[in-house]
Each structure stands twice: as structure tokens, then as C-alpha cells.
Amino acid sequence: MKQTVFEIVSNRPLTESVYEMTLSGDTSAITRPGQFVELSLEGYFLRRPISVCNYDEGTLTLIYKVVGKGTAQMATLAAGTKIDTLTGLGNGFDTSVEHNHALLVGGGVGVPPLYRLARNLVAEGKQVTVVLGFNTAAEIFYREQFEALGVNVVVATADGSVGVKGFVTDAIKQQVTGADYFFSCGPLPMLRALTQSLDIAGQISLEERMGCGFGICMGCSIQTVSGAKRVCKEGPVFRKEEILW
């Protein structure tokens, strides 16, 4: 964990409620895709945990959905705004596991951390298939960015307006073969359905309301097969067999 000040470079809507914020600052504490940062926002007591979409030396990209007052305030912040940030939080995805063809499955605002993960896996020479699930065409974001990485991208929409009609699990059944490991982030019902329908090993990133974000308050604890774990510290990424559904 590192405390640092980031400066907003750009903050733009990708859809009606999902925004992409690019910041400049010290990203050295971020070591893996799937980690998160915590932003201190004016007028709010607790920091806002946001998953890291992408990072390079000096540049950080966050994608967030406006779901409450805190994120609504984030959407109003202009370029040049400085934000007190804790970075390098959580464990992130472990790509060192033995596999050849990675299946990345993102649902809605769970999509962002998979972007940097896909980039890393491509760099590591893995075959990568990305399945993105959204409710409807208007909610789709980052499809082109994933495609630009040269990975196979499959989109599912619940209303069938784009791609496969149905859930990510339907899209996988219809269009994905040969994957031998999966990584996923998205709403809990999606993660549960995915974990139950896939017979390959994998890692999932969980979300929980947090107090501190760095392991001291026990606000975000979950029960796992190996006892209580903190989503912010031992997680947010867990191996699928660790989760007690």
C-alpha cells in the first residue's frame, strides 16, 4: 500500500452511467491486474475503492459506475483535480498458474480489471478469450479496447440487442471452446453461475462494502473454505474453490 496524490488527466463517460478516469501519478505500488485503489473524495468520510482498469508508469486508468453520491461526485471532477489515493491494495489476479488458453469473463462494471489482465496474458503469450456481459447495447463499453489487444472478444446482452442473447454463461456455451483456466469479475449471481457451469479452475474477483480497504477494520470479511478472509486484503481475487456459495 502506498499513499500518493494523483491528478486527473481526463474523466469521460463511456455510457450513460459508466465513466473512464485517467490519472497521472505514482503507480509503483500497483503490481498486479485486479488490485484496487481508494480515492479520498471531498465531503466523504470513507475512501471509495475502485478497481484498476489499466496502469503504466505514471498513468492510471479507472472505470467506475455512478451508483451513489460518491461516484456521482467523481463524475463531476475536472481534469487537473488532485486526489489523495491509496494504491496497490488487494492481491490481484495470479497469472502464474499453469494454463494455455485463458477465459476472461466480465459482467457490467466488473469488466474493467480484466483489461489489464488481458494485456498481461497476451504479453505472456497466452491464448485469450474475453466474454463481456451487459444488459443492453447502450451499456457496452471497452469492447474496442479489448479487440485492439488482439484477443477473441464475445459479447452477450441480456436483451439480445448485441451479440449473444442471454448471460455470459450462454455465450460461453455457444462460442467458447478450449479454455483451460478462467478469470472473472462481475455481480455475485454471475460469478456463482459461472463457477457452477465451468469445469475448469479459475479465479474470481469479489466486491464487498469496505471500511478501510487495507485490512484493519474487518468490514469486508467473507467466509471461505479456509476460514474468514478479508476481501480487501486476502482478496479481492479468490480461487473459485475457496468460495462458500
Partner: protein
């Protein structure tokens, strides 16, 4: 001029009055990666019960104006694991007096926990959280009546040799009556205040924000309540008081001590600013200079 930040709690010398409050610092392992723990006056470790506890369902946390609500529910590995693992680990990272925070749901649980922790050399002070519900009395918190608070105090004092501080709940009609009852029952000191019972509602979903509906409200918003209660109790009791509740700055520490606190705990602020205790300790000499204070202990209870 060198400013003297030291203070004393029942004969236990602290280099400075700053103590992370129980539940906002774990057992120190995570925070030892943030700064050198030995700069602290003391540490009150995570509230410990006889048996391991997972705590309450999530969500356990709610944002509030200038504060937060938590309903963690005393998640901890249990007294035996704390003694076997957490305490030795903390001792590797922290070489100053340790405060053991003990919770219970029956008088027997308090006494058994305190008896076991009392034999641990690393622990200098036992802090007893009486804000827990009494399972033998319809779930009413021990700390909400003078009689039950005194009963816990007397029972714990009977099995311990170390100074016992009773951590008082602010969710009471007359904090002074409860403080006096604890003092009369043999308490060596008092810590106040614990969190205030609060609640938030998600108006879009029409349901409580936290799973347990209600929880403990803490953070800067409760500071004036804490100062008032510390002032009332310090003026009514002879035993030392540790002030706690909404402390976020060196000025707050001075204010709490002027109200009557011999030492000061910093709680919820650690969760939003992990460096707050370090910053306060670094700022205290400057603030003392501005206010013409040579020795911090000289201002304890100066406001009458």
C-alpha cells in the same frame, strides 16, 4: 525547547498519549507496513472474545456525514489464538505497552478471557468492552446499567493483577453514574466513549444499509459528545480516563486532555487516513508550542 509528550496510566508510562483504538488497528501487522509502530504510546488490540467469532453478515459498513457506522460484530480469532499467535507477532513489531481489549457476552466469558490474558507478560493494561449484549439478560448491554457494569468490573478485578480499564458505552442516560459504579467496583481506569448506536437507510432500496440494521457510529462527528462525556466523567471520578471518539488532529488530542483524558485513542480516523496517529504525534510538539504547553500531562483536566 523539548516538549514532554509523556503520560502515565496507572503507573504505566507512555512516551506519548496516542493509542490506536481497538478495532481500528487489528493486531498491528498491517499497520506495521505503514509506519514504525514504536512511535505510538500504546496499542489497544482488536476486541477479543473467548471463542473465535466471524462476526455479523455484510454489509457491515455505512458511510455517514463526518463519520461511519460499523457492525463488524467483534470478528476475532478467540483468546487462545490471540495469545498463541497475534500477541507474539505484535510484540515483534511493537515494544511499548500493549492494551488487551476484551469482550464478552456473559460475566463468565469476561472473567475467563481476562484470567487468560492476565498471565501474558506483554500485556500492560486490560481494557474491558462493556458495550456487548448480555446473553443472560435479554441482550441488554452490560455497559448500560450501573449494576451490570459494576458486576463485570468486580468479576474481572477478582481474577486480574493488571490495571483494568472499563470501556464505557455512550448509549446511556447517565454516563457519570455508570463510571462511578465501575470506579466503586474497583476499576483502575475508564476508556470512553465507545461507538454511538446509529442507523442508515438506503432510500432507493428502502432497506437498512448494513445487514444488522444498526451499528456503532464513530468518526469526527461524535467528537463533541466524547469530549463532553470525558469532561463529566473525569470530574466525577478519581481514576484516569482514556479519551476516545472522533479524534482526528493534534488539536483534538489537546482538547480531549484538557477535558480530563490522561491518554487519547484514535479510532475511525485510522480507516480513512492510515497515517493519522503518526501525523498527530509529529504535530503535537508544534501545537504545544503554539499553546505554551511544556508538559502534556500538565493540561490533563485543566478545564473546570
Amino acid at each position: 525547547m523539548v516538549r514532554d509528550l509523556s503520560t502515565t496510566l496507572c503507573g504505566v508510562e507512555l512516551d506519548n498519549p496516542i493509542i490506536p483504538a481497538s478495532g481500528t488497528f487489528g493486531f498491528g501487522a498491517e499497520m506495521s507496513e505503514v509506519y514504525d509502530l514504536d512511535i505510538l504510546g500504546s496499542i489497544s488490540f482488536k476486541g477479543t472474545t473467548l471463542e473465535p467469532r466471524f462476526g455479523n453478515p455484510t454489509p457491515r459498513i455505512a458511510e455517514c456525514r463526518s463519520g461511519m457506522i460499523n457492525s463488524v460484530g467483534l470478528q476475532n480469532p478467540g483468546i487462545d489464538a490471540v495469545i498463541a499467535h497475534e500477541l507474539p507477532e505484535l510484540r515483534k513489531r511493537f515494544h511499548k505497552p500493549i492494551i488487551a481489549n476484551i469482550s464478552g457476552f456473559s460475566i463468565d466469558e469476561y472473567t475467563e478471557c481476562c484470567r487468560r490474558i492476565d498471565s501474558e507478560e506483554q500485556v500492560e493494561i486490560i481494557e474491558v468492552n462493556v458495550s456487548c449484549p448480555n446473553v443472560h439478560n435479554g441482550g441488554m448491554a452490560f455497559g448500560t446499567s450501573p449494576e451490570s457494569a459494576a458486576a463485570v468490573t468486580a468479576a474481572v478485578k477478582a481474577v486480574t493483577t493488571k490495571p483494568v480499564f472499563i470501556k464505557l458505552s455512550p448509549n446511556v442516560t447517565d454516563i457519570v453514574a455508570i463510571a462511578r459504579a465501575c470506579e466503586d467496583a474497583g476499576a483502575d481506569g475508564l476508556t470512553l466513549i465507545n461507538t454511538m448506536l446509529g442507523m442508515r437507510i438506503d432510500i432507493a432500496r428502502r432497506r437498512p444499509v448494513i445487514a444488522n440494521k444498526m451499528g456503532g457510529f464513530s468518526g469526527q462527528a461524535i467528537f463533541p459528545v466524547a469530549v463532553r462525556m470525558v469532561y463529566q466523567v473525569a470530574n466525577a471520578c478519581k481514576i484516569p480516563v482514556i479519551g476516545c471518539g472522533g479524534v482526528a488532529t493534534a488539536d483534538d488530542v489537546i482538547e480531549m486532555m484538557m477535558a480530563g483524558a490522561s491518554a487519547v485513542q484514535v479510532g475511525a480516523e485510522n480507516l480513512r487516513n492510515p497515517f493519522v496517529c503518526k501525523q498527530i504525534i509529529e504535530q503535537l510538539p508544534e501545537v504545544m508550542e503554539r499553546l505554551g504547553i511544556e508538559r502534556l500531562r500538565d493540561i490533563i483536566g485543566v478545564v473546570k
